[in-house]
Amino acid sequence: MKEERTLQNAKKSQSLSLASCLISRLINPIIIKEMRGQMRGPRAFIILTAYLAGLGGLTYALYRMTLTSFAGYTGVSPQSAYVGQTLFYGLAFLVLLCVCFITPTLTAGAISGEQERRTYDMLLSTPLRPFSILWGKMVASLMWIFMLILAAVPLSSLIFIFGGIALRDIIQVIGILGLVAVTYGSLGMFFSALTRRTGQATVFTYLIVMAFIFGGVFFWVGSNIMGRGDVMPRGLACLSPIGALASALITPEGTLGPVGGLSMLLVGGTDWFHSSGRLFRPLWQYTTAVYLALTVMLWLVTAQLVRPVRRWRLGWKGWLLRLFIVLLLAGELGVVFGSDWGTTGLRASSPQPFPAPTAVPVASVPVAWEVVDLPTATPPPTPTPVPLPTPPSPAEVEEMLEGFVVQNLMQNIMPQDYERLFNAGAFCDLEVLDISGFAPDGRQVQASLWVYCRVYSAEDGELQPGVGLSLPLVASLFYDQNGLWRLDSYYIHAANMLSPEVRQHLLVHPYDEALGEARLRERAREALLGEE
């Protein structure tokens, strides 16, 4: 009787074994224990409340800022979608910062905390494998982070009131935040196991996280004097989680709203994520590859570090497995970075002509059945090809830009009374250097031009030159539905945004300031003194 029962039990357990084995491996005792402790007591609720209150307050501030700053620029209220996007970007970056700065504190005590509480020996004397200990600690810590990320979701759903954000964007952002949390969490655990002191581990983890966020820019600025205009190598740029997030958020027009400046500062310009058409792949894909590889490597090493004995004695099978994993990671990085190895990772700004389709010879296949004549169908009407818009002429570009450029430059030079200057006697001379295609459909062009700008005043019938400046500009123009070219945005010269020909042109034929000055004087004289 008893034997029968044990036999039955054995059968039952066998059928359950696979599922229960998987579940018991995923949900390990440490996760259950940590989660029991984490939400107990007032701490968790205080932190969560403070976090959400802070986030809510900052979102509101961002909302006000968006409204006022937009109205300040243009005099009209922003479009609803613009507000939605700005809020979403702002929230995404705030949560990213929270993740970057909270994760290390959660995992840096994972191993060292056990040691300090003197529970580590007891934990190690159980049959738990090092990997399960790490997994349990990691999941428990990440639960917290994911709770913070998910707690922000209702807040970010405010965005849907304004619109402008797709569900895909939200999923992408959560994915990147999760990746950052896992990577920095692993980093914290690695140092926790290495130093066995929570304080030290926290400091080291923060240092590395800081290096990831700011290191690339500092290194690049340090090694290149600003303005050389080269793009930061993507190997360096991709380390920053901020750059990665920005590259995932950026709109095809290349705007990030008011929060764009932050990411621009941190990855040394918008080149890396400016326009999807110009990159082989968005920056965040490089980041994902690097972070994934780093995480796996950290886990491999940490799993050895938490072992009490026989740390590095693995046996040939163990070494082979680890070698295989490392090779796999190297392969992964190779595939991601190798696709554009030896280039900057940026495409040239001029659109590449589409390769002509090569005719594929169709093999004649013997047909085994009878061919029946069908009534000839009328062929579908061939779609009339949409003509590509003709690019604007340099004169058009100059006309379009003149008012904007003068106003904005004056605003920058003399913020106090630019309006008076602008109305009184600010003049600018534009010289278009190049107009090149930008988008494949030809609906967007990039114009490179020189600007020479100066304020004049008339005193006693004499022309007095005031402040002025000359600088190269890059303007982006688009072709709207009404068949008109419109100014999208313009940037102060960044050499890497110019096509190689224009760059060459700039070097060989620098702008002739004397000529520009003469032209301006002529116009100023005409306008201010009424002389012909």
Partner: protein, 321 residues
């Protein structure tokens, strides 16, 4: 090898290159069901040995077998046979006594049904059934120590390794711990415990190993150890009548190597005589009879110091310089 549950051969541990040996070729054999007391002063290498037995520390050389499995070669297998209680037991905060045991039962992979039974039984065994839902941090130290012992028992191990189970406990808690250990021993567990305090736990041990500066000085059943030691004791007498005469008589008694007059007792005027007698209990009784026969009025006659402590001091005297 089956006869001995725990066996070590030439076990050495050196913590750092160039540091002195923390443990010097230790050969230990503990038979099944034994209650082995590991006794030595602080820093003698007791914790080192126990940690190595538990597979938490790597020996510099030498081998350990537990239940026939080599700790050196299969360290993770040993965890199923060994319940280890560290000297400074750790506690997780924000956890109840029941959850604490449940956590370790989960770590050992017990089924939910088994876990429920074991948790209840162990709390009952260590007398904490009432404190089941109490926060671990709020328990008294004795209770925490007992809970920690229960923790080491969740997977019903063959061998219990207890590092200083009585340290930091008040006398009552010590007695309770001693009773608990007796009970466990009666249940058939092999127990290895370490202690720097002799009197507390040594009495219940079936075997005692005295360790000093990483070296096993003496090892065997307590009775055998007693025989090994030079039988000598300090006798203290309260003599009412003639102290001078008593001193003379004592000095003349065979086996007495030293006599001294001391002040003792509650009254400083009382005179006591102390005599060091090299001999066993029979010699002491003969000495008393001799004194009484010769007309010395002895009001009190007692032996000074603990027998085991004397033994311990004797055995380690040469080493501690």
């Amino acid at each position: 090898m089956n006869e001995f549950v725990v066996e070590t051969r030439g076990l050495c541990k050196r913590y750092r290159r160039g540091a002195p040996l923390a443990l010097d070729s230790l050969d230990l054999r503990v038979s099944r069901g034994a209650l082995f007391g590991f006794i030595g002063p602080n820093g003698a290498g007791k914790t080192t040995t126990l940690r190595m037995l538990a597979g938490l520390l790597e020996p510099s050389s030498g081998e350990i077998w537990i239940a026939g499995h080599s700790v050196n070669r299969q360290p993770h297998l040993v965890h199923n046979y060994v319940g280890y209680m560290p000297d400074f037991f750790g506690l997780y905060h924000e956890m109840t006594a029941w959850e604490y045991l449940d956590f370790f039962a989960r770590c050992h992979g017990l089924t939910p049904r088994r876990r429920r039974i074991v948790t209840g039984e162990l709390l009952e065994l260590v007398g904490l059934a009432q404190k089941r839902d109490e926060d671990v941090g709020h328990l008294s130290r004795g209770m925490q120590q007992r809970l920690c012992l229960a923790r080491a028992l969740v997977h019903d191990p063959l061998v219990l390794l207890l590092d200083e189970p009585a340290s930091g406990l008040d006398p009552r808690a010590r007695v309770e711990m001693r009773e608990l250990l007796r009970e466990l021993s009666a249940m058939g567990k092999t127990i290895i415990l370490s202690s720097h305090i002799l009197s507390e736990l040594a009495e219940i041990c079936t075997e005692v190993g005295i360790i000093e500066r990483g070296r096993m000085v003496a090892c065997g059943p307590l009775s055998w150890l007693r025989g090994q030691a030079v039988a000598g004791r300090i006798l203290r007498l309260h003599v009412i009548s003639d102290v001078q005469r008593a001193t003379q008589l004592l000095t003349g008694f065979p086996g007495v190597s030293g006599v001294a007059q001391v002040n003792g007792g509650n009254d400083p005027a009382e005179t006591w005589v102390e005599a060091y007698l090299a001999g066993d209990a029979r010699a002491a009784s003969e000495l008393l009879a001799y004194l009484v026969d010769n007309g010395v009025a002895v009001a009190e006659f007692r032996q000074v110091g603990n027998e085991l402590e004397e033994l311990f001091l004797q055995l380690t005297a040469g080493e501690v310089a």
